[in-house]
């Protein structure tokens, strides 16, 4: 029994499940208390000890079925005595393959009853599918990687047939029959494992586990070169990041310094205790929450950065007193209400389609600022941080920098995020140099890492 479980554990570890030694010990300890012949009980003990979250549960169930049902032939591993000698020679013949890939040894180990290497191989096929950056036809990847194994299986089958044919005279037909049966059975199982192996897609939540890896990959990628799939991934990554940030902010609130001693209150409280200051009261001042006003250029290239920016800001809404957002191309419209009524991602889609804007027009910063001044200037006060996301390309219209200056006077600070690479900032119709003078901070914001740095500075 102990050996069986230990073998299962090593297979499960090979398949990527994390199992600690103490968990194995607990399991072996507990298995004594139950009736191991009753499968639900046996499975329950293993599951309770080895799969300690919902995510791992699916993987565990898959492995469990695989190991205790599909691979059951392992129970009588190795070969029965009658065919053992011949089996060795046959294996030798199989090893003689002219071009052994990395697959062949693993496959042969599997046939002789040691599935670890083969399982590891299968797992690598799956995880490779996650890691590789591929261009067109990317979904062929894992299929292509499976192909050599399939070929190896077929080749081995042929070798077995050929071998039996050649050695027809040297062994009785029962032995040949048993040999053929044994090998074909094992190869069938190997093939079934390969073709029914879980696709990486349907282990959805597993992706979150490796989100740091994906962050490393997506972090430096420019926003406007993302594929739709990557946009989805990006959202998942952002969600994780936001949760982490919220945790940090929450800790900051819990751990903030206690403030100055409040003498008046302390004295008053001490009256209860005959004038002894038993309770010391501090003058607590909660950390200041910012008010945010966002101005987003929603024309083409800029939008791809702006959407993630909005996504993060609104996911972190709890960290600010209020977030108001405006979008502009030529003219401006407030879109805060979309975010109040809909879920963040839905709202972002709606902004693109339903805001009251002339979407076809070319960007006009001057007009935008004039309109902002006329309609929404009251949105700014000394507590507001104004964030402008735009490339500052005015199409040679009046930049109206005086208005921005006026806005600076009214707000706490102005931060300009530019989704263009810095080299291009001051070229052509870009008015970055003019606007720069009015801003407290100008940052490039073209990939997730830059955006993340910015948000962190903003929140913390």
């Amino acid at each position: 029994m102990r050996n069986l479980i230990l073998k299962f554990v090593s297979s499960a570890r090979a398949a990527g499940l994390r199992i600690a030694t103490s968990e194995v010990m607990d399991c072996l300890d507990q298995i004594k208390h139950v009736d191991v012949l009753d499968e639900p009980q046996f499975a329950a003990v293993l599951r309770a000890n080895f799969a300690k979250s919902k995510r791992e549960q699916n993987q565990f169930n898959h492995l469990y079925r695989l190991y205790f049902h599909e691979l059951r032939e392992d129970a009588e591993m190795g070969f029965s005595d009658s065919i053992a000698d011949h089996a060795e020679t046959l294996l030798e013949a199989l090893r003689q393959n002219p071009n052994p890939g990395p697959e062949l040894p693993a496959l042969l180990d599997f046939v002789t009853g040691d599935p670890l290497a083969y399982l590891d191989l299968l797992r690598r096929i799956q995880s490779d599918g996650d890691n590789h950056q591929q261009g067109l036809g990317a979904n062929l990847g894992s299929m292509v990687r499976r192909l050599p194994i399939m070929l190896a299986i077929d080749r081995s089958r042929k070798v077995v047939d050929l071998f039996l044919l050649e050695h027809r005279d040297q062994m009785p037909w029962e032995t040949r029959r048993d040999l053929k049966k044994h090998f074909n059975q094992r190869l069938d199982v190997a093939r079934r494992l390969l073709t029914t192996a879980q696709l990486p897609e349907d282990t959805g939540p597993r992706k979150i586990a490796s989100y740091e890896k994906r962050l490393a990959r997506l972090g430096e990628q420019s926003f406007n070169s993302l594929t739709p799939k990557e946009v989805d991934e990006m959202r998942a990554v952002i969600q994780q990041l936001v949760r982490k940030l919220k945790d940090t902010v929450g800790r900051r609130y819990a751990k903030r310094p206690r403030g100055l001693l409040d003498v008046k209150k302390t004295l008053r409280r001490s009256m209860q205790y005959q004038g002894i200051p038993m309770q010391i009261v501090f003058r607590k001042r909660p950390p200041r929450k910012g008010r945010i006003v966002v101005l987003c250029d929603v024309s083409g290239s800029v939008w791809s950065s702006a959407r993630f920016m909005l996504n993060m800001l609104y996911s972190l809404q709890a960290c600010f007193t209020r977030v108001r957002s405006f979008v502009f191309i030529a003219g401006i419209d407030e879109v805060t209400h979309f975010f109040e009524t809909f879920e963040v991602n839905q709202a972002i889609d709606k902004v693109l389609r339903e805001a009251d804007l002339a979407y076809g027009a070319s960007t006009d910063y001057g007009l935008t600022l004039r309109e902002f001044k006329r309609r929404y200037l009251d949105a700014l006060n000394k507590k507001t941080t104004l964030i402008i996301i735009g490339d500052g390309r005015t199409n040679y219209t009046n930049p109206e920098v005086e208005i921005l200056d006026e806005m600076r006077e009214r707000s706490r600070r102005i931060i300009w995020l530019n989704p263009e690479t810095e080299q291009f900032w001051y070229s052509g119709d870009s008015e970055m140099r003019t606007y720069e003078a009015c801003c407290h901070e100008v940052r490039a914001c073209r990939n997730l890492n830059q955006l993340l740095n910015f948000i962190q500075d903003l929140v913390l």
Partner: protein, 304 residues
């Protein structure tokens, strides 16, 4: 009074009005046999808290419940030192102190006298025990339910580790206190956040999902015996259909039971589309969910 076998667990839990699958029974039995805590996870309303209560009922133990929330700290979970009481006592016994000190000639002698009495000021008398300390120092074994542990802060989780592995608590004023009896510990979590590996490692993990069809039927029959068999069948089938839809909050067992209760109150004999549409508010907690189900009403009831 402990459980004898897995079957015994299932039987006694059923007597305590809790119907469980074999997996749940196995885990409960193991926890009782090895003295390890159980970490129960699963969607809201599948009976995680109820499991702990049922275990307490079937073992005839007292249940001590600690509800976790953000900002829960040691003072609320473990114990609080009652300074006010201590001070009051000091004031009252002031006269006594003079008695104790009478006859001493030197200062060091007086200090010596006081020192021999100082236990009186740092004793358990001035400790206000909170759930965790209560569970550890109870003179009869208890069931300790730490509810929604995922809502607590990471620091509190780390603090739980000492209790869960050694069943002991350190109180700075008094020293370490070991458990008189090992409590049967149940932690529940709603997957609000992942628990740390260290915590998971110390627990037997149990994931309770929505129950199987037959199990759910038995639960409804047990909890609401007045409901007819036909209606139960229809009820369970439609709830399962509804769970298959893409909803924000899927109805779980507690909602099924609420629904059965309200159908009973409305004296409904047969589940028709109209009845379902009228009573949806009982099982669904979001407006958008109600609308989704309403759109799919025909398929749900036809299958029922």
């Amino acid at each position: 009074m402990n459980f004898e076998s897995v079957a015994d667990v299932a039987q006694r839990l059923e007597k305590a009005e809790y119907i469980c699958s074999k997996e749940i029974a196995t885990v409960v039995f193991l926890a009782a046999a090895t003295g390890k805590p159980i970490l129960v996870e699963g969607p809201a309303g599948v009976g995680k808290t109820e499991l702990a209560k049922a275990v307490a009922r079937s073992l005839q133990r007292k249940i001590i419940r600690l509800q976790c929330y953000e900002g829960l700290d040691e003072a609320k979970a473990l114990y609080e030192w009652e300074y006010a009481k201590q001070l009051l006592y000091t004031q009252i016994v002031k006269a006594k102190i003079d008695d104790v000190l009478s006859g001493t000639r030197t200062l060091s002698e007086a200090v010596e006298r006081i020192a021999s009495q100082e236990d009186a000021f740092f004793s358990e008398r001035f400790i206000q025990p909170r759930p965790l300390l209560q569970a550890i120092s109870a003179d009869k074994p208890v069931v300790l339910l730490i509810d929604e542990v995922d809502k607590s802060d990471p620091e509190f989780e780390a603090f739980l580790l000492e209790i869960l592995s050694d069943f002991q608590i350190s109180i700075p004023e008094l020293g370490t206190k070991k458990a008189v009896h090992r409590p049967f510990v149940v932690l529940t979590s709603n997957n609000f956040r992942d628990m740390s590996d260290a915590l998971k490692r110390r627990c037997i993990h149990l994931y309770i999902d929505y129950p199987e069809r037959s199990l759910e039927k038995r639960i409804v029959e047990l909890k609401i015996p007045a409901i007819g068999e036909r209606l139960t069948e229809q009820l369970v089938t439609s709830v399962r259909q509804i769970r298959d839809l893409d909803l924000k909050k899927k109805p779980s067992i507690s909602e099924t039971l609420d629904w059965a209760q309200s159908l009973l109150a409305l004296q409904v004999e047969d589940l028709s589309p109209d009845v379902v549409a009228d009573t949806l508010n009982v099982i669904l907690k979001y407006r958008s969910d109600v609308e989704t189900v309403r759109d799919n009403l025909s398929t749900i009831v036809n299958h029922a």
